[in-house]
């Protein structure tokens, strides 16, 4: 396989040997971190957990003063921060197996549950396995559009796509419910590719998880605040909403800004480890920001590093980033990064643009990389 990057300075060809060499260097980078895992990482994750629990308790407590608007706002803020930390820097990363090496039953990827209506085991299947193995491969990675959105030109346009930004908005607001439904593959049931019987078990798991979450946030806590029932209910709804909007935004910045690439099944059929690494780099995008921003995004602002090393503790991504970037530069590969406003703007721009029929949209020459096979070099006209 030859990898050819089309950059401003013209195309660049990586030989299969170079790809494997790159893979080897990334493996080395990984081994270096693995060998160094220890107390520092443990202290880090426990300090985040401690902070999250603190915000949670503060948020629940402040709701009792919710009749005073500033306190209500403070309560919502604290609870939102708690839910964001719980889902992103803790839940997402722990369920990736990043802390399995600590052998803490409570931080084991198989055992952990997050403060989200989606049951952990289903998320591990749709995300850890499907998305992380088949990143950005059309018809395999269901994160491309989540079955409802058009986020890539490779997806067919039809009149229903006109609602693209609207669907995206809906998904953003109800993100945790969207994540929950992800593993069901509803559209495949509609198309008759999946039987109802297949999803029965998933549905009962979702019922079990979601009912408990709903009971806690929308019934028990409001009820416990007595006359403040409505104010607490509104506060809890808002905190969940804030978490939804935030995680949607961070996650969409990870794969959908301009410059990220998608792949076909044929291209990636007999992928080597080196090629897998290259695909992860080309299919992900980072967001620049300060330390607090990275923590609040669960370090998914280091999406490229996360996709290369999904099972390394996320607090290591910032220190890995310069090395990964240097490798990209060495091989002429793009390293897609930018400020939050730039990345999210580009995501929404795309969502709007791709709603329109292709003939209305000016075709830009997509920067980035063409992956092709050595056996059929004529395929892409070289």
């Amino acid at each position: 396989m030859t990898i050819l990057t089309e950059t401003k300075d013209g195309p660049l060809v990586l030989t299969p040997d170079q790809v494997e060499e790159l893979g080897r260097q990334l493996d080395e980078l990984r081994a270096k971190v693995v060998a160094d895992l220890g107390d520092r990482d443990r202290e880090y994750i426990y300090s985040i957990i401690k902070a999250q629990r603190g915000f949670e308790v503060a948020g629940r407590g402040l709701m009792y003063l919710g009749f005073l608007p500033p306190f209500w706002l403070a309560a919502v803020a604290a609870l939102s921060v708690s839910k964001i930390l719980d889902n992103m820097e803790i839940g997402h990363n722990v369920m990736h197996g990043q802390y399995d090496w600590m052998r803490e039953p409570d931080l084991n990827s198989r055992e952990f549950e997050w403060d989200n209506v989606c049951p952990g085991d289903q998320w591990r299947h749709s995300h850890n396995y499907m998305h992380h193995t088949y990143t950005n491969i059309h018809n395999k990675d269901r994160d491309i559009g989540y079955g409802i959105l058009r986020v890539d030109e490779g997806q067919q346009w039809n009149p229903l796509r006109l609602g693209n930004p609207l669907y995206a908005f809906g998904l953003m607001v109800l993100f945790e419910w969207g994540v929950m439904g992800h593993d069901l593959e509803i559209e495949n049931i509609v198309r008759g590719k999946r039987k109802w019987a297949d999803v029965k078990k998933l549905l009962s798991g979702q019922w079990r998880k979601a009912s408990r979450q709903v009971l806690k946030d929308y019934v028990v806590f409001p009820a416990l605040s007595g006359p403040l029932f409505l104010s607490t209910l509104a506060g809890n709804v808002t905190a969940n909403l804030v978490r939804n909007v935030w995680s949607f935004s961070i996650i969409f910045c990870g794969h959908f800004p301009t410059g990220v690439q998608t792949f076909t099944e044929e291209e990636t059929e007999f992928e080597t480890r080196g090629e897998w690494y290259v695909r992860q780099m080309l299919g992900s995008a980072n967001i620049t920001g300060g330390r607090l921003f990275h923590i609040m995004s669960g370090n998914l602002s280091h999406q490229i590093e996360h996709h290369l090393f999904p099972d390394l503790p996320a607090n290591r991504y910032p220190e890995l980033a310069p090395e990964v970037r240097a490798l990209c530069e060495k091989y002429g590969l793009p390293y897609n990064t930018g400020s939050f406003s730039k990345q999210i703007g580009s995501v929404w721009g795309k969502l709007f643009k791709l709603a329109l029929p292709p003939f209305l949209v000016r075709k830009e020459s997509a920067p980035g990389v063409i992956v092709m096979r050595q056996q059929q070099p004529t395929e892409v006209g070289v």
Partner: protein
């Protein structure tokens, strides 16, 4: 009380209540059992005796049983089994453990060098069928070697404490008196109880090893007794052989002396892979466990088959495996491992 805890669990869902409480104090837990080290004594060379105060979930131990304790070393939690050496009593809510620092024992070295009063460790309920039967038999013979003394010492002390009227003989093998813990206690018990016979043998003084004559000398009545033995494999074998020859195997109770096996050197594939949950087993052919399981006709859950998704995690009960990505070997019992990137080194038992 339990209902109240359940209500509070609803409020903390999906995290257990203990995950909040332990942030206040590690021993303030409702479900999880822990213990605080309240006393540390290093009386003989190479051993440390710890007194632990368990949290309120502790329900006591029967003499001879063991507990698991867990400590964090370099960020990683390790658990090991130890037998309490103290009298089994429901009144006294303490446990005493004597830990011998083995040359490459990670946990025992850590406890020997670093244990301090105030440290909190994980604790599991006492378990194991190696225990004094109720009602007590009329004659009891206890044999131990090295750190195998711990479960039988608990038996001996319990019998002494109960004022057991029958005949007791205790035969212990140690390298030398300097490394044998609890010698004063043993002397004290012997002095206070006419019907207790306690003898120590020191192998580096040329005392000889266990044999039939020794058995006759210490407990001529052994054929009528219940015998309990715990120690290194050599001692266990010698005892077992004699009891089998005398057709007394049903009166012999043995506790395997569990040292966590040191990681085996990586060589050619050998040994057997046993799949505990399904009862299947296969000759180890060196491939990763996921492939070996599939070749044996099993269908363990998997996803990426490249070590990133953790779908294939299963518990390694015993044996040593090698992570083919890092080359690291590991042989701690009961650890979850990723089947798709773990190859067995020698005999391995996996819970699938």
């Amino acid at each position: 009380m339990v209902d109240l805890i359940n209500l509070v669990q609803t409020l903390t869902t999906p995290h257990p209540l203990d995950r909040y409480l332990e942030l206040i104090r590690p021993t303030l837990t409702t479900r999880v059992m822990r213990a605080e080290i309240i006393h540390v004594r290093r009386s003989v060379l190479g051993s440390v005796t710890l007194t632990l105060r368990p949290t309120r979930q502790w329900t006591g131990h029967a003499p001879g049983q063991y507990v698991q304790i867990g400590v964090v070393i370099d960020g990683v939690r390790h658990t090991r089994c130890y037998s309490p050496v103290n009298v089994a009593s429901r009144r006294d809510r303490h446990i005493q453990l004597t830990v011998k620092a083995h040359p490459d024992g990670l946990v025992s070295q850590y406890l020997y060098h670093r244990a301090l009063p105030g440290m909190v460790v994980d604790l599991t309920p006492a378990a194991g069928v190696f225990q004094l039967p109720e009602p007590r038999p009329e004659r009891i013979l206890l044999i131990s070697g090295g750190s195998g003394i711990t479960p039988v010492l608990s038996m001996l002390r319990t019998l002494a404490d109960e004022g057991y009227p029958g005949e007791v003989a205790f035969l212990h093998y140690a390298k030398s008196p300097e490394v044998q813990p609890h010698r004063p206690e043993l002397a004290e018990i012997e002095r206070a109880h006419q019907n207790f016979r306690i003898e120590s043998r020191y192998t580096s003084y040329g005392s000889g090893y266990f044999d039939y004559d020794e058995l006759e000398r210490v407990a001529p009545w052994f054929a009528d007794a219940q015998t309990f033995v715990c120690g290194p494999p050599g001692l266990m074998d010698a005892v077992r052989k004699i009891f089998e020859a005398e057709q007394l195997a049903d009166r012999l109770h043995a506790e395997e002396f569990t040292l966590s096996a040191a990681p085996v050197a990586v060589g050619e594939a050998f040994g057997t892979v046993r799949f505990a949950a399904s009862g299947a087993s296969a000759q180890n052919n060196g491939a990763v466990l996921l492939e070996q399981a599939e070749a044996a006709g099993l269908t363990p859950e998997y996803g990426c088959r490249m070590g990133i998704c953790f779908s294939c995690t299963a518990v390694r009960r015993t044996g040593c495996t090698r992570n083919v990505r890092t080359g690291d070997t590991d042989s701690d019992p009961d650890q979850p491992i990723q089947l798709c990137i773990s190859a067995p080194v020698g005999d391995v038992e996996i819970d699938i």
